[in-house]
Symmetry: C2
Subunit: 379 residues, 2 copies
């Protein structure tokens, strides 16, 4: 019988070394490199499943931490799993909640057994362990589950970073031991903060554990982009060539281009939808804040090159009016645009790799893109 999961590198760009791949899952094949929209609470904010299909989404994220708290994995399981619950028949990936509990700061305590924390919803005292997270993710039933890991802040002293990494490795072993669903792929997560030797050590240790794929965690937490890129370059030669690599929480247009150049296959980020609801839009030329007065009588689309429903039909002037008037539709349309922008960018990147011209593509990208009007790393 064929394995439910398989990843193959289908082409390596002769010009850049960037790679094209296919990740086979029980809910379909994912063409990589790819940007994955985020539906934290089992819905991409302001979007419906058909909106997501319309923009060419191949896989959605959902979050274990949020869904455990509300509505609870028992309900999702009873509904027949996440795919049925949220009406999404393509692949789904669940983050493990490691980053979310880390973000709770003073509301959480990380120990060897797991993390004790207070719910951000009602303050109730809860805990997550590698074993309980595996149970939750298996109940949710996504195609890909992430291991439960320990993040480090930026900056972070060496000993703290090392301890977090080592615990992440022990937790990865525990996750592997606890994970039994064969129709769900478990991905390990590389940590090591901003120390090259730790990143190398983590990449090696995780590789030896032979996961189906690998997250690269703990980046885009406030460090300069150059440092993130250095970490990616450090681990690239160590990461197994035949496994997918997922750079977690990274999703600005330039970071996608740079990540792909450094061998990354998968990205996710809430930035696209978060800034969209505030009227900030991606364009080939950089950030566009559509609420600005200069767009009041601008009847052109957000981005001339974009093929999304919003750009095909609505003007900057109309969008600006909707935002000024507080209409929910404003956030809907801007979210459609921002998500489609990133998905289309990755489609264009895949074409460039297939045609061995990704360095040319990258050069053309920066010739248009105003880096002085850009986003942060955007976690």
């Amino acid at each position: 019988m064929e394995k439910p999961f398989r990843y193959e590198v289908t082409h390596t760009c002769a010009q850049s070394g960037a790679r094209l791949g296919k990740l086979y899952t029980p809910h379909g094949v994912i063409e990589t490199p790819i940007y994955m929209p985020v539906g934290t609470q089992a819905a991409v904010k302001a979007m419906t499943s058909r909106d997501m299909e319309d923009i060419g989404t191949q896989i959605l994220l959902a979050n274990t931490y949020h869904l455990h708290l509300r509505p609870g994995e028992a309900l999702v399981k009873k509904a027949g799993g996440l795919h049925k619950f949220m009406c999404w028949n393509k692949p789904i990936l669940t983050d493990s909640g490691g980053f979310q509990v880390f973000s709770l700061a003073k509301l959480r305590k990380i120990e060897e057994e797991g993390v004790r924390f207070q719910s951000h919803i009602d303050g109730s005292r809860l805990s997550l362990t590698p074993e309980s997270v595996m149970q939750i993710e298996q109940d949710l039933g996504a195609d890909i589950a992430m291991a439960f890991d320990v993040c480090s802040p930026y900056p972070c002293d060496y000993d703290t970073a090392k301890a977090a990494m080592e615990r992440t490795h022990r937790w990865a072993e525990r996750c592997k031991a606890a994970h039994t669903r064969e129709d769900q792929a478990l991905f390990g997560i590389v940590q090591g903060a901003f120390y090259k030797d730790l990143r190398r050590e983590s990449a090696k240790a995780l590789s030896d554990m032979d996961f189906i794929g690998y997250g690269i965690g703990g980046l885009s937490v406030g460090e300069p982009k150059e440092i993130m890129y250095e970490m990616l370059e450090e681990i690239e030669p160590i990461m197994p060539k035949e496994k997918p690599r997922y750079l977690m929480g990274v999703g600005t247009p330039d970071c996608l281009v740079e990540g792909v150049l450094r061998g990354v296959d998968m990205f996710d980020c809430v930035l696209a939808t978060r800034v969209a609801r505030n009227g900030t839009c991606f364009t080939r030329k950089g950030r566009l804040v559509v609420k600005n007065a200069k767009y009041a009588e601008d009847f052109s689309p957000l981005d001339d090159d974009c093929d999304c429903y919003c750009c095909r039909n609505f003007s900057r002037a109309y969008l600006r009016h909707l935002f000024k008037a507080g209409e929910i539709t404003a956030g809907v349309l801007a979210s459609i645009h921002n998500l489609r922008f990133l998905i289309k960018l990755m489609e264009d990147i895949r074409s460039a790799i297939a045609e061995d011209r990704f360095l040319d593509f990258r050069k053309a990208f920066y010739a248009e893109y105003d880096m002085s009007n850009n986003f942060g790393n955007g976690n």
Copy 2:
């Protein structure tokens, strides 16, 4: 040359006397009786134009008062009119703002010349007259423009109601004199509060002015539904048979059924979308508050009979989760359902009229619909 507007009664139900009709406009033919979704600020709240097409919308409303204040009719005109601005190529009707300025209560003063009021947005002092409203509506460029009228509250003493009605008639004449666009139909508005003789007098006076169609205004402002129905019965014999009749601001399921029985051809109401965003949904059995705990594990759709995108794909349990989690998508899905519910109800009503069985339909409607779990008139 054929006139840009034409209304014909295509069938009268042998069982009930209710009528089917066709209203021809420059942007297409409207089959009546019809419920018209409301896009107050040039967008139906939480909806996109394609959502509206998908649910079978034949005509949209927009509001002169709101659009005058923001973004201003000059911008809409510059964009090429409301159809282009909001990307809606089917008919549009603009309300005149008469009801909106009336609703400003202490912030407005109604005089013979017009209404002076303070903007609900920034408190600036503005005025509207029959002539300025005609100019605004012509700049907006909807297919149907409503005359500027004077509403009365409920309850209202006879002399006040009479004075408001008489002023409405004088303003209707001024609107007619000021209105020149031949590709836009001007509808007069019948007033007269809750006095049968005034309603009859108003219906007669407006009929004599020979408008293309007629609004029935000042109802659903807090009075018992029976009183509203009495007013409709009173004016029905007086209203010209060959003109469309539009009961303004009325849109609960039972009121649609009762309005059609009393000769109404067009309805609008913001209730469907307003309550949807709060998780209150229309069903054949009455109101359903999907946030209620009893739906936590209910994997059935909002309404078994409904063919909308939401009911075809999502469960009450999922919708409840989205509402509890504060997801915008919750309001989007519930709005799709509530709007489609009313549009489908009117489609079913039209079929029943066509087949001379509208009284049977009405009986079956009430057999299912729990009137003790209903909405108010819902303006």
